[in-house]
Symmetry: C2
Subunit: 609 residues, 2 copies
């Protein structure tokens, strides 16, 4: 006999309550409000092979309200794939059942818990299903009412309707109560419904505790084509337990043993032998393209090519070899040169418009479905999505970010458009790879290195055209560097990348004519950094100058210092941007910031005199 949804919902509530009380911490009430909605979803509509969470045909379920993790785990408990004792490991050291979902839990599609990010991830997964894999899976996203205040939700909402994602179904759990007070709209579900309708969604507004209404709502969602769908559900936080339901003061609090006993009594007997069954999905193969070899990049030494342009060239060249590449951009594709990929392979480019947070979330969605997304915009504007990038690392997403227009060398547009903190930002992302090419050849190879290196990757590209420095045969491994000027008589080492490398080379060549030997290192791999080469140079020259078009904090200078920290053998001078730049010609601003060859020569002569 099939278990009834009512019985399963009661079991799910039981698991939520016992696991949070066992943990002594967690969010039982925020979980309880969505029990009926998700129990109906899981055990009547969801199609997923629970033995194969990675199955490409599985429907995807994202808990954007990540603090409802006890509910997520409880649902899998009710489905029979987690035991009661496993559920009771909630929030304990080493348990995959963390306070908020992470990939440590095998059924979590992504890490959530920083609110307002799940819908973007869902958009990425839905876009992947519809446009890339061409599979009929659906993507479900559970949102809390509180997180609807996050702008990123509305960025995702607009893109979902722009791309007509009718395979995306959102559920908004309007339980009225936030962390410290009532939400902006309380139980006024209409406030959400009319906003979502205005954003192009098909909306069903229901009582989120009425199973007949819930079932009708899902069925209405399945009947609509051409638009994303949302179920806006009025619920009670803590629903199912009278002394919790719709009561303030219970956010993020586990019940005491005594309260638990009271709650369980009220819940009535549950059958822990009960097992809800989840439908299996179809077994359709995703659409794929076979990889083919591609020619090496073609540039001549000395040609002037901006690294941002080489980035676009690289994507377009490499997509045949790596058919899982996807390019997304925040309406800057003619500046970042993502447009070169778009022009070559339109169906692997997705315009994300001026909404960087959602762009990164969509990238996480693609990455978690096996694609290699490159998300590009001005480096300055990637700061907009730092929370999403940080969370992408928790999601273990294989996401590549590309920031163009870095530093004062962009010129006239002024400080709002200058990426001056991007290295600091990406260095402090767990497990990140931070690469900063100085010419077209290294850019091309470093793009491929990023594809081959899993995790969060960052490529820093520059606006100005700079001369090609390397032969096409050169290798650029992650963690490497290139010593471009070197002699036994070097009295100082210049460490640089991007425009400052070119200034450093000019300075070294001029100083060499004046009889002063200076080593120059192209430090294209900022993280991991080539500690061995830097140490050797430090030991041999005893004096280093790290030159970067970035604020003085957290950038290449700090990375070099960090590499030398435990055995410091050289004095290290950081040359970086220290005053707020304005508008001006690139060369004027580079000079003003003390990053020009002339400025470096003056500084070196002063130090060495």
């Amino acid at each position: 006999m099939t278990a009834s949804l009512q019985d399963l919902a009661r079991l799910v509530r039981y698991y939520i309550l016992i696991s949070t009380t066992e943990a002594g911490t967690g969010h039982p009430t925020s979980s309880l409000s969505a029990v009926d909605l998700t129990t109906a979803l899981f055990f009547k509509y969801l199609k997923a092979d629970l033995d194969r969470p990675e199955h490409p045909n599985n429907d995807r379920v994202i808990f954007s309200k990540g603090h409802a993790a006890p509910l997520l785990y409880a649902l899998y408990g009710a489905a029979g794939v987690l035991t009661e004792s496993e559920l009771k490991s909630l929030r304990k050291l080493g348990s995959p059942l963390q306070g908020h979902p992470t990939p440590q839990f095998r059924y979590a599609e992504a890490a959530t818990g920083s609110l307002g990010q799940g819908l973007s991830i869902g958009v990425g997964m839905a876009l992947n299903g519809k446009n890339l894999d061409q599979l009929p899976y659906r993507t479900y996203v559970l949102l809390g009412d509180g997180e609807m205040a996050e702008g990123s939700v509305w960025e995702a909402a607009q893109i979902a309707s722009y791309y007509k994602l009718d395979n995306l179904i959102a559920i908004v759990d309007v339980n009225r109560l936030g962390q410290s007070q009532e939400t902006m709209y309380g139980h006024d579900t209409e406030a959400y419904s009319k906003r979502l309708a205005a954003f192009g969604w098909d909306v069903v507004t229901i009582d989120g505790h009425s199973l007949p209404e819930i079932e009708k709502a899902f069925e209405q969602c399945f009947a609509v084509n051409g638009r994303p769908k949302v179920i806006v559900a009025k619920t009670l936080k803590g629903a199912g337990v009278s002394f919790l339901a719709d009561k303030a003061g219970w956010h993020g609090k586990a019940l005491s043993a005594a309260d638990l006993e009271k709650a369980l009594k009220e819940l009535g007997p549950v059958d822990t032998k009960l097992k809800g069954s989840v439908q299996k999905p179809e077994d359709k193969k995703p659409a794929t393209t076979a990889p083919v070899d591609v020619p090496p990049p073609a540039y001549k030494k000395g040609d002037a090519v901006a690294t941002r342009k080489a980035y676009g060239m690289a994507l377009a060249r490499l997509i045949d070899k790596y058919p899982n590449l996807v390019s997304i951009d925040a309406e800057t594709k003619n500046s970042t040169f993502a447009e070169i990929l778009m022009e070559k392979k339109k169906d692997h480019y997705f315009e994300m418009f001026i909404a960087e947070q959602n762009m990164i979330g969509v990238g996480v969605g693609f990455a978690r479905r096996g694609k290699v997304p490159f998300a590009s915009t001005f480096a300055a504007f990637l700061t907009r999505a730092y929370d999403q990038i940080r969370m992408a690392a928790v999601s273990e997403a294989n996401l590549k970010c590309v920031g163009s227009h870095v530093g004062v060398s962009i010129g006239e547009d002024g400080p709002s458009q200058m990426g001056l903190e991007d290295i600091a930002m990406f260095r402090a992302v767990h497990g990140s790879t931070v690469l900063y090419p100085s010419d077209a050849v290294s850019t091309e190879y470093l793009v491929e290195e990023l594809i081959k290196t899993s995790g969060i990757g960052y490529l820093r590209t520059s606006r100005p055209a700079t001369p090609v420095l390397y032969d096409v045969g050169e290798k650029f491994p992650v963690g490497g560097s290139k010593v471009l000027r070197s002699s036994a008589k070097d009295r100082l080492t210049l460490v640089a990348a991007g425009v400052t490398l070119h200034e450093s080379l000019k300075a070294a060549d001029q100083l060499s004519k004046d009889g002063l030997a200076v080593r120059v290192i192209d430090c294209y791999s900022v993280k991991p950094i080539d500690a061995a080469t830097l140490r050797k140079a430090a030991e041999e020259t005893k004096l280093m100058m790290v030159v970067e078009d970035h604020w003085e904090e957290g950038g290449l200078g700090d990375a070099v210092l960090s590499a030398l920290a435990e055995k410091p053998v050289a004095s290290v001078v950081k040359v970086a941007v220290r005053i707020m730049p304005g508008s001006g010609k690139p060369e004027e601003l580079v000079e003003q910031a003390g990053l020009s060859a002339a400025a470096l020569i003056r500084k070196i002569k002063e130090i060495l005199k």
Copy 2:
């Protein structure tokens, strides 16, 4: 005779065209689309004393579409306060007329240019006018259609309607064309109007080149009470010049000399002697409260008090001395303890709900109107607003950010809630002050230091209760530190702050019993850092260990290295979080990350053996 709006609009167009062509760069077409809208605003409705841009009764005008800076400058040119030759300094080195508005231009209310931020700043200014200064000034915000894709705009929109800001008037310049392609909705003004109406705004939809429609729209706005108002205007990018108007391919391009000649011919003769007059505002005094002395903080050494709680206590204590203090929080006030201020002085607390980007923008608005806003949430979630924080520095805003729940020591909630990159992020903000107290007394004094230190300030607070270390009489100047353990025999210096300071003290005391002397420095001022004290310790002990509950990049460790860089005399070991933490008890996670006293003792013994 008063100049007609038509003649003034023609003059404004002339200034836009000649200034951008003179610069050889810039955004003439994005400026031209909004000429008629803003000319009517400036010369018929705006109330501002142009001799006193700081006048508290002036209406505020914010160009959220900052790339329309040439229009902003041209309007002031037409108002007679900028000469043609000054206008021609656009985008030149040292000119206050930068590519995007910054406070270098005396009439700019804030820096813009990173899109989608202006409405939040406007919300801050409107809230200030209505609720704090209680002045009748209006705040006008010009937005582009492209930037309506930014979620932060919708965060601002919902808060404006929540606070019934009927002194706020937005103008959306729907010119259809973005940077690289058409916007999501092209000329479908209804798409914007219905969304804004759903978000609670009073909407007028018009032809943005019809002066009668524009005038009617403003007058309709003034007639509505209790809601923010928006004029959604269909315009042509490049309007007024036939070969530019509504044509793709002209984004961000100045006209050549030949094209300029053609354009000016078409524009017809302009009278550069024409001067538009702007109405003067009333002369009402802002509501103020006289400052009164407050008692010092009251804690006893050894009491267990979380620094986050001391932060709330400090705000509540100091508001009488600094009546310009304002507290804003992203629905975490019972965690950050901003609620202590709210409970004491409700009208100086503004709930910003779960929308961090808008919270920071609102803070910039308050700051630019002379308030000292403290914006608080979990440190992890401040990453959400990094772009706004970066831009706040360009705005020269006196904004204070407070991030609670830092590091692994928060425990069970897991990595999504742990601030592990906040120091890296805030160090790399221009002119920032980064403070990291370890006990309640220093927290209280550091809050006051932040009030007294202009610019972007950051206070890092912790979740766990920790013992009070200092007497209430102690001083904590910015740029200082405290040497808490010291002897002539010290063989190593531990540098720490927050929970790791307490672990370091325990480690040093234990090691001291074992006969091993270790110095301990409370490095409460991360930026600026106390280089002299660190250098002395480095020279005397030759070995330092920097211990921080933060990723290893960009944090306290890098700050210490940077302070010692030019004369490295000690080996510096960074002890920081290196693996992705999960859930667990705070003490388990601190131990797992190698930050516990026991772990430090093991590491120190190993190094010194």
